[in-house]
């Protein structure tokens, strides 16, 4: 049942190429989860998240600063190596400086793009003018996509896109709710496969697979077990790391990642002004630290997740050199620890130093549990 998602995630390029052939549609590579994908979907475009491959590489050195994060380097390497050669366009919603560099570099050095878009997502989502501003940007984007694809984005198409995306969000929330159970039917590693696949495949197909999965999960017999953990931080598609933790006695039951819950947490509230409804959704979503000011709204959200999913500890991770997350780390750690949730902080690179992380994780698990030793 989970194999399907794993297959999508592991063969992401094959899926996209096959999708193109099957539908004759265009594929848009996205660098950030603030991209209003509903617009693309309504125009028959498949949005896919561009992620790295976790392999050491030597092609990005001339293009990305040394103190930029490993993730932005890993993503650019995929482009320079031609692994995303099927993309018709690339797009970023204004996010951090590092991934923006990946976008600019890709635009300049990777050939064959019909359309590239730097979408102006306001950083200050807390401004009272942000929804109206974002609505304007989306309106402009709709016109550009119509011109690019030669298709009119009708109200019906937008309604359908909103419905498919909302369904996906609803099903993912149901999946996460199952993890509140004292014996969750699914591991964090498996959920990561599912949420990565979610950012790569047609949401309608993902929905169908999710519905089947949700029907099957309650009857699953080989349920995972372990100390309940939460993982909080930046982009994270490090399946090797989750596997290591979950084979060392931990079990992830919830996360706050843009490759996880931040991507799908809230729905578009349908309204007559569809573009405003979409804009509002992206303004209201659980924020990335680049957007989370002046008030830090992430903190009560993260602490709420920790409480509702009853975690014994939290691993706070970030991509090495990720300034926005590094700046947030101190506050996140304090908020969680004030709420009685112990934390472990780890910095991720392209490859995971399993041995060095394993000792930290095992010691953390011993610290939050294991009264047997005394």
């Amino acid at each position: 049942m989970i194999e399907k998602f794993k297959d999508w995630e592991q063969n992401r390029h094959e899926y996209a190429k096959e999708w193109k052939e099957r539908t004759g549609g265009k594929v848009m590579g996205c660098f950030c989860t603030y991209v209003p994908e509903e617009v693309l979907y309504a125009a028959g475009v498949l949005p896919v998240r561009i992620l790295g491959s976790h392999e050491p590489q030597d092609v990005t050195e001339p293009h990305i600063f040394g103190m930029f994060c490993p993730f932005c380097r890993d993503c650019l390497a995929q482009g320079l190596k031609g692994r995303y050669d099927y993309l018709n366009g690339i797009m970023i919603a204004q996010s951090c400086l590092h991934i923006r560099q990946t976008f600019w570099s890709w635009q300049k050095h990777v050939e064959g793009l019909e359309y590239s878009k730097f979408f102006i997502m306001p950083h200050k989502v807390q401004s009272k003018d942000a929804p109206e501003f974002l609505r304007g940007e989306i309106e402009e984007f709709v016109a550009e996509v119509e011109e690019w694809t030669g298709k009119k984005i009708t109200d019906e198409a937008l309604d359908n896109a909103i419905a498919v995306y909302n369904k996906n969000r609803e099903l993912m929330r149901k999946l996460y709710d199952l993890r509140k159970d004292p014996n969750p039917p699914i591991s964090g590693e498996e959920v990561m496969e599912i949420s990565m696949a979610m950012e790569m495949v047609d949401k309608a197909e993902h929905n169908a697979a999710l519905e089947e999965l949700l029907e099957w999960l309650p009857s699953r017999t080989d349920k995972p077990s372990g100390t309940r953990l939460m993982i909080v931080g930046s982009e994270d598609d490090d399946i090797t790391f989750l596997n290591m933790v979950e084979t060392s006695g931990g079990l992830f039951v919830v996360d706050d990642h843009c490759t996880g819950s931040r991507y799908f947490w809230n729905q578009v509230e349908p309204a007559e002004d569809r573009l405003m409804a979409i804009a509002q959704r992206y303004i209201d979503r659980p924020p990335c630290p680049t957007k989370d000011w002046e008030e830090r709204k992430r903190l009560p959200h993260i602490v709420g997740l920790a409480k509702d999913w009853d975690v014994a500890g939290a691993i706070i991770m970030q991509q090495k050199f990720c300034d926005p997350h590094e700046l947030d780390f101190v506050a996140v750690k304090k908020a969680l620890e004030d709420a009685g949730v112990p934390t472990l902080f780890l910095e991720f690179d392209v490859t995971v130093p399993i041995g060095q992380f394993k000792i930290r994780v095992e010691a953390f698990l011993e610290m939050i549990g294991d009264e047997d030793l005394f």
């Binding site: 041995g355 000792i359 095992e362 011993e366 610290m367 047997d372 030793l373 005394f374």
Partner: protein, 288 residues
């Protein structure tokens, strides 16, 4: 050609309690296979009976076997007489005769509690490959910890490199480094290779050996302080691991932190294995 003296080689040791008879007692052991050194500690009814402390070879299971065999030497003990063994350290999963692996972070906290007493709240384990600052409660249970990142600066391995470079026995580094009229500025503490390059430059400038050692011990102390500052130091404060034997680092650390560091007659390298052996006793008694 004369035999090359291995200056980095610290003194290996073993010990048996001459006043104790192990027969009829519960025998538990802890094996700490570190990146540089391996220790075996044997307890009889929870009391220290024998130990060994030797260099880790390239093969963890062999190192564990060598350590326990040396600890059992002349005691009449056989491996089968040991009821429960805990493996710890870098090679904790490679101790062939252990019932359970436990991290060296938990074991060092427990070991420091046994060595220094239950008033210890902060343990600094300065090992061969990494350095850990640990907070613990009155039972020696870890309440918080922090490890250094991927670098040999501030570790035993770095100290070995310096002993070798300067032609000084590692056992004498600490004392020599204190024999300076004025404390020199520390060398680079980010990277042991850079520190070595810098030290080579200082030697070329005519610095005497002890002054260069002072600069390195000082760098190591500063490196560790950045770790301690992130987690905080609660009294009592104790150090375990091989670097605890280096008075040049310990005194500088004490001065910088401004908190007295507990002293002990025990071999500080034993803390991990001792903690493991104590856990082994509890685990056996609880039937785990």
């Amino acid at each position: 050609m004369a035999d090359k003296v291995e200056l980095w080689r610290w003194t290996e040791s073993r010990w048996t309690n001459p006043d104790m008879d192990w027969k009829g007692k519960l025998i538990t052991s802890g094996i700490d296979v570190g990146s540089v050194s391996s220790q075996a500690v044997i307890l009889a009814d929870g009391e220290l009976y024998a130990y060994s402390n030797m260099r880790t070879g390239s093969n963890s299971p062999d190192s564990a076997m060598n350590a326990i065999n040396w600890a059992m030497e002349d005691t009449g003990l056989k491996l089968d007489d040991i009821t429960y063994t805990v493996g710890t350290g870098y090679g904790r999963v490679n101790v062939p005769f252990a019932q359970k692996p436990i991290t060296e972070i938990a074991c060092h906290a427990r070991g420091a509690n046994a060595i220094y007493g239950n008033t210890v709240r902060t343990v600094l384990d300065m090992g061969g490959q990494d350095c850990k600052a640990i907070h613990c409660d009155e039972r020696g249970k870890v309440t918080n910890f922090l490890m250094n990142d991927k670098c040999a600066a501030g570790t035993g391995r770095g100290m070995e490199v310096f002993a070798d470079l300067l032609g000084v026995s590692i056992n004498e580094v600490g004392d020599l480094s204190l024999n300076v009229e004025e404390e020199p500025d520390p060398v680079s503490s980010t990277c042991v290779v850079y520190a070595k390059t810098e030290a080579t430059g200082l030697l070329r400038e005519g610095w005497p050996t002890n002054k260069v050692l002072a600069a390195y011990c000082s760098a190591m102390a500063h490196r560790i302080i950045t770790l301690l500052e992130r987690i905080g130091v609660e009294e009592d404060f104790a150090i375990t691991g091989g670097i605890a034997k280096n008075v040049g680092v310990v005194q500088r650390l004490e001065k910088e932190v401004g908190i007295k560091i507990l002293r002990t007659e025990y071999d500080t390298q034993l803390a991990g294995a001792l903690g493991g052996a104590l856990f082994a006793k509890v685990l056996h008694e609880k039937g785990k």
